[in-house]
């Protein structure tokens, strides 16, 4: 009794013709099933284009039928015989049966359309990128403590003793019915904030978690959804500090960019004369992501010492700007597709203006 037949000769007399025909009549050929199978189960590691092969041997790719056909014996061994691939297992019996049938086919029948991702051409030129960067930078560094102060100011001005509960005294952790409460002066509040204060080093760390909203009598929104976190070492003028704003915290009636209901995922850390900025800020019409942008008076007073930032276009593609180390606050900008946009300069003054004198 035959227990094992090498694949290439397993189909009996005249198998080449038979198999070629079989591949044409078979319902699940490369296009119908095979390509999808290899993409789903193998492509993340065994593909010419994958960014991380995770150890799959170089050249062991299954992007096309030709490649699969050429390596069919090893595929059969690893997937069907000793079941050591795909890494992690998980194949169903049905998939194994399909693969077995697929590998029994001849290579003529398969076709292999390639896929390329198409990035539209850059829609912002250097000036456009600079304008958007400046628009966000003009707001200065958003400090979580300052934002919370703004929130408390609104509570102090408009909250009643019970609407929202907890609004009239520190720690200003508030609570209002989910469907909202209305104050005597016509403000409406809903939801809650939780505030946690812990000693850390010589200072304190504050974390505020918010899930709520308000409406002023004119119908303008106040939103507190997400997290604020800040810390200062409490040593005064030279204090080290950290600040983080995640979420949407804003009030449509507020002056400046807090009035634009910005959305953030932004963190900064520093001292009196230095700061590193990380993360994103979305304004109406300008979205910027800071990549470890460095302010450092000892290196580039009043300018940018290093790092970079990214600027988003309206279609969702980013241009990346890396600052030169010559304190020019300028740098080379590259679009998502790798093409150069030229040199872009940013006005760092508002960042410095907000940093000077900041004491959490």
């Amino acid at each position: 009794m035959l227990l094992f037949l090498p694949l290439s000769m397993s189909c009996g007399p005249g198998d080449a013709e038979v198999a070629a025909e079989a591949c044409e009549t078979q319902s699940a050929g490369w296009d119908g099933w095979g390509r999808g199978f290899f993409t789903t189960w193998c492509g993340a590691c065994h593909s010419a284009t994958t960014a991380d092969r995770r150890g799959a041997p170089v050249g062991s790719n299954f992007d096309s039928w030709d490649e699969v056909w050429a390596q069919r014996a090893r595929i059969e061994e690893r997937v069907l015989v000793d079941e050591s691939m795909p890494l992690g297992g998980g194949l169903s019996e049905a998939d194994r049966a399909e693969l077995k049938a697929l590998l029994a086919c001849d290579d003529d029948a398969a076709s292999d359309p390639g896929d390329e991702s198409v990035i539209p051409p850059a829609s912002l030129d250097a000036a456009g990128v600079a304008a958007r960067a400046d628009r966000v930078v003009a707001g200065g560094i958003p400090f979580a403590s300052a934002w919370f102060d703004g929130f408390v100011d609104i509570l102090m001005a408009h909250a009643d003793p019970t609407c929202p509960e907890g609004a009239n005294a520190p720690p200003y952790a508030i609570r209002a019915a989910i469907e909202g409460c209305v104050t005597a002066d016509g403000w409406m509040f809903s939801g809650l904030t939780l505030r946690e204060t812990t000693a850390e080093g010589t200072g304190v760390r504050e974390v505020v978690v918010g899930d709520g909203w308000g409406r002023d009598p004119e119908g303008r929104s106040l939103v507190f959804g997400g997290e604020l976190e800040w810390w200062g070492d409490g040593t005064g003028a030279d204090a080290l500090w950290e600040s983080r704003i995640d979420g949407t915290w804003g009030y449509e009636g507020a002056p400046g960019w807090q009035g634009e209901m910005p959305s953030l995922s932004f963190a900064a850390a520093g001292a009196a004369a230095e700061a590193t900025l990380d993360g994103g800020i979305a304004f109406v019409g300008a979205v910027v992501y800071f990549d470890a942008l460095r302010l450092d008076a000892a290196v580039c007073p009043g300018s940018i010492a290093g790092g970079g930032l990214r600027v988003r276009d309206d279609a969702g593609y980013w241009t990346t700007l890396t600052f030169d180390e010559d304190c020019s606050a300028c740098g080379a900008a590259t679009f998502a597709d790798g093409s150069s946009i030229g040199t872009v300069c940013v006005d760092p003054a508002p960042l410095w203006a907000s940093l000077v004198g900041y004491d959490p």
Partner: protein, 547 residues
């Protein structure tokens, strides 16, 4: 030779018998087709959610149209779009009764409990309405992942950042105004409210949803072996495992690079309205950073959520999945490996014309859709697998009764046959999108009770409106309360009802039985009550509730 064939078959080699002749000819027919009028009824119910009209049945009977012509006209019927929403809802499962955010959190809605159900459907149906509009307008199906528009109605239209016309009502095409990329359903609040990501899940669950809905790859059902003794405890641990452990890598090596595309939908607090109703473009770069992988679609790099649609469109699984999804919905069962030949036909139709109506035409042309019974050649697995009878589930029943009698069952704003919080959708055999994922195909006690109450109420509504109130005729053709059994108008009405409700002409014995029922009821009360009783009974007949 036999031994050779068996051996070859076991090794996955092509069976020579199948190569010599086309597969269909080699396999004896196991399914017998439905009679034309019943088929027209099935098509009309599946494609428009209503019964065929008497005029349609007349022209079919007279040979002026065939079922394919009727089917094509159903695909172009204005009711097709609504029906498509309900049909696809069973696969996409977004018509749920609960989201992380409740209607009371909107001051615009909080005051009135009757806002709850419309709010929930306005949210959950967004991706379905988008898909249904694509199907109804016969646009390329890939528009569902590449389009720059979505759908909103008067509820979400005024709450969400979309350009819903100020004076409009009902579902309208809209554009989001918060800077989200063009990616069809992949850029809708509705899809991502249903398939939400917690802060620590990093959108991975959403990728599993993309894979299931659009590629028919079910990551959650993979038989993954977790290596013995590895305990996956806290979040940091999990992150380590996903990157280092081969058993996790198998799925996560493909999931994580896709999840990077969705960080504009990643909330800082998943319970905050503002956080989940708005897109957050500034978080897009966080994906590759937090997940520590480069964005890629199964190995093909991309840079933006806007790239995902075209990559999905080119992925051959998208075509296969469109065919498989629609076949499963219309066959009312999972497609399996044994369906390969029919699915290949459907897929071929797609290749010629990558649009949903082409797929639906191909499925409804097939023997599996048209089956009304089994032949003697059917084996036990055939009997087990094929569905030759379908059952009206609560949402379809609602749509049929509404069309037939004007009756719609609502309580405190909740559509009783299309929701579960206060309604009977699941009890009536429907899909709730969370626990029930396939509509019921055998009668259950609760289904019978739902059918009974709905039939009684619908019958009463029809009699009150048409026979007592003199309103437009819908369920009844010409009968009046003065007609009695034996009158021509009475007999004609019974024939018409039989044809309209069941798709066929009655036997004399049936007519006699119904007349007897009517007369017994009339003797106890009056003609109106007799018609209520009679119509309620007809609406509970197996011929009516199955199709």
């Amino acid at each position: 030779m036999t031994a050779w064939v068996l051996l070859a078959g076991a090794l996955g080699c092509p069976d020579p018998a199948k190569i010599e002749a086309p597969a269909e000819a080699a396999v004896p027919e196991v399914l017998s087709p439905l009679p034309d009028a019943r088929l027209a009824r099935r098509l009309s119910l599946d494609l428009r959610g209503v019964l065929p009209s008497l005029a349609e049945l007349d022209s079919l009977e007279a040979g002026q149209v065939d079922t394919s012509t009727l089917r094509d006209s159903y695909l172009d019927d204005p009711r097709f779009e609504e029906r498509f929403v309900q049909l696809l809802g069973q696969a996409w499962r977004t018509q749920v009764d609960e989201f992380l955010v409740r209607y009371v959190e909107y001051p615009e809605l909080a005051g009135d409990e009757a806002n709850e159900y419309p709010f929930e459907r306005a949210v959950g149906e967004e991706p379905l309405r988008l898909a249904a509009r694509v199907a109804a307008e016969d646009l390329p199906w890939a528009t569902i992942v590449t389009g720059d528009w979505s759908m909103a109605n008067e509820v979400t239209g005024h709450l969400w950042p979309v350009d819903y016309p100020a004076d409009a009502t009902g579902w309208q095409k809209v554009h989001y105004t918060d800077g989200r990329p063009s990616a069809g359903i992949l850029a809708t609040n509705g899809l991502w409210w249903r398939y939400f990501s917690t802060v620590s899940n990093y959108n991975r669950g959403r990728v599993a949803a993309i894979a299931r809905l659009l590629l028919c790859e079910d990551y959650l059902s993979r038989e993954v072996s977790v290596a013995g003794g590895s305990s996956v405890a806290d979040a940091a641990d999990i992150e380590d495992h996903l990157r280092g452990n081969p058993y996790c890598l198998g799925c996560h090596s493909s999931i994580d690079p896709i999840a990077t595309a969705l960080f504009g939908f990643w909330p800082a607090n998943e319970y905050s309205i503002e956080e989940i109703e708005r897109y957050h473009p500034e978080r897009e770069p966080l994906g590759p950073i937090l997940l520590d992988v480069a964005p890629s679609w199964f190995g093909t790099p991309f840079t933006s959520l806007a790239d995902l649609g075209p990559l999905i469109e080119e992925d051959p699984r998208f075509a296969t999945c469109a065919a498989e999804t629609m076949a499963s919905l219309l066959w009312r069962r999972e497609a399996t490996l044994e369906d390969g030949a029919e699915l290949a036909d459907v897929r071929a139709a797609w290749m010629a014309e990558p649009r949903m109506k082409a797929v639906m035409r191909a499925v409804t042309d097939g023997a599996k859709y048209r089956a009304g019974g089994f032949t003697a050649a059917a084996s036990a697995p055939d009997l087990e697998r094929e569905r030759v009878v379908r059952q009206l589930d609560a949402p379809l029943l609602a749509s049929v009764l509404d069309d037939l009698t004007g009756f719609s069952w609502s309580w405190e704003g909740f559509d009783q046959l299309r929701s579960d919080t206060w309604g009977f959708r699941v009890l009536g055999g429907g899909v709730d999108g969370l626990y029930e994922t396939r509509s019921l195909d055998v009668p259950s006690l609760t289904w019978l009770l739902v059918v009974q109450r709905a039939a009684e109420s619908a019958a009463a509504a029809a009699v009150d409106a048409e026979l007592l109130g003199g309103g437009d005729r819908r369920a009844f053709v010409a009968v009046t309360l003065d007609d009695v059994p034996g009158d021509e108008a009475f007999t004609d009405e019974l024939v018409a009802l039989h044809r309209r409700l069941y798709g066929s002409r009655p036997e004399p014995s049936w007519t006699a039985e119904v007349e007897a029922l009517w007369s017994a009821s009339a003797a106890e009360a009056d003609a109106a009550e007799a018609w209520r009783t009679t119509l309620a009974a007809l609406l509970q007949d197996p011929l009516f509730v199955s199709y």
